[in-house]
């Protein structure tokens, strides 16, 4: 049984392999970018707007509201990064309804790449907001003793992000595969529907966790006057 779509190899030439993960990832990327290009080709600000523009606007304003709810006061600055993460993971898990499709997020390579993006982007956002010194100082808060623990948590949460998404998506595919051998007729469909729900929840969680990490790195904590007394 294939544990991930990494083992599904289409083409191989020496060291270079073209496996199922790469193919589906590129297909999703092309689909999403061409779709976005087609929708945004005729944008209207007044009069009747097209249905596609309306749905895209709902998605974008929804993501913006979520980002600002977490505590980032200027969501537009972070929308491109965090929105892309959420939309990619969500689209990958939504396409489970296509027969024969294995989600690229069910491979540890993809999720590790996404988690590494978060791992690199969080310090970059932090340095842009607070400056290099200000960002490095957040590692020694609340006291200097916490420095090694802060560094360990930075690494372990990256690992957790990658393994959580991988485990959830892989388990969905795996459960359907096992059920197909036991009760092949209706029950796998129910589990696929449940897999759609878990996929959306995981996409939301991935996005919201990345947002929380960015918010923790960028917020400049000013000592408030009220807490003095």
């Amino acid at each position: 049984m294939n544990l991930t779509s990494d083992q599904q190899i289409f083409w191989q030439h020496g060291f270079v392999k073209l496996n199922g993960t790469i193919v589906t990832t590129w297909a999703m990327m092309i689909l999403m970018s061409i779709g976005a290009k087609l929708v945004t080709r005729r944008l209207a600000t007044e009069g009747p707007i097209s249905r596609w523009q309306g749905s895209l606007e709902i998605i974008i304003t929804g993501i913006e509201k979520q980002i600002s709810d977490v505590g980032l006061s200027e969501p537009k600055k972070y929308l491109s990064f965090l929105g892309t993460l959420f939309l990619f993971v969500a689209a990958c898990s939504l396409c489970i309804v296509i027969p024969g499709y294995q989600p690229p997020t069910g491979s540890l390579s993809t999720t590790a790449a996404l988690a590494l993006c978060v791992f690199i982007a969080v310090p970059l956002f932090g340095i842009r907001e607070q400056g290099l010194g200000g960002y490095l100082k957040t590692y020694t808060k609340p006291t200097f003793i916490m420095l090694p623990f802060n560094i360990i948590s930075e690494l372990s949460r990256t690992l957790a992000l990658a393994v959580r998404l991988f485990g959830n998506m892989m388990s969905g595919v795996m459960i359907v595969g096992i059920l197909l051998t036991i009760t092949p007729f209706i029950f796998p469909i129910v589990m696929t529907a449940l897999g759609l729900l878990t996929g959306m929840v995981q996409a939301y969680i991935f996005g919201i966790l990345a947002t929380v990490y960015v918010a923790a790195a960028t917020q400049v904590r000013k000592p408030s006057q009220k807490s003095q007394h």
Binding site: M1, L3, D69, V70, A160, V163, R164, F166, G167, N168, M170, S171, M174, V201, Y204, I205, I208, L209, V212
Partner: protein, 93 residues
């Protein structure tokens, strides 16, 4: 009993124990957190957005522990490195 049978027995038994314990403890934790969240939702319905978001993030954190156990048991059953090693050795003889 040769090496490969021993490895198979230990792997399968460990996978079962792993997923058993690894589901039980996070389930207790998730139950506690959902119950507390429901209590606070009933007390303060105005703060439902914040409570729900924090609950989801917390549930994801707890659930990732169960997912770790699941990944380990899946590796033990389907992609066991020791098993592959034993098979390769017995095939080489």
């Amino acid at each position: 009993m040769d090496n490969s049978i021993l490895i198979a027995v230990v792997s399968i038994a460990t996978a079962g124990i792993t997923i058993g314990i690894g589901c039980m403890c996070p389930a207790l934790g998730e139950g506690r957190s959902v119950a507390t969240a429901l209590t606070s939702l009933a007390q303060q319905p105005d703060a439902s957005a914040t409570i729900t978001r924090t609950l989801f993030v917390g549930l994801a954190m707890i659930e990732s522990l169960a997912i770790y156990c699941f990944v380990v048991s899946m590796i033990l059953i389907f992609a066991n490195p020791f098993w592959t090693h034993a098979i390769a050795q017995s095939g080489g003889k």
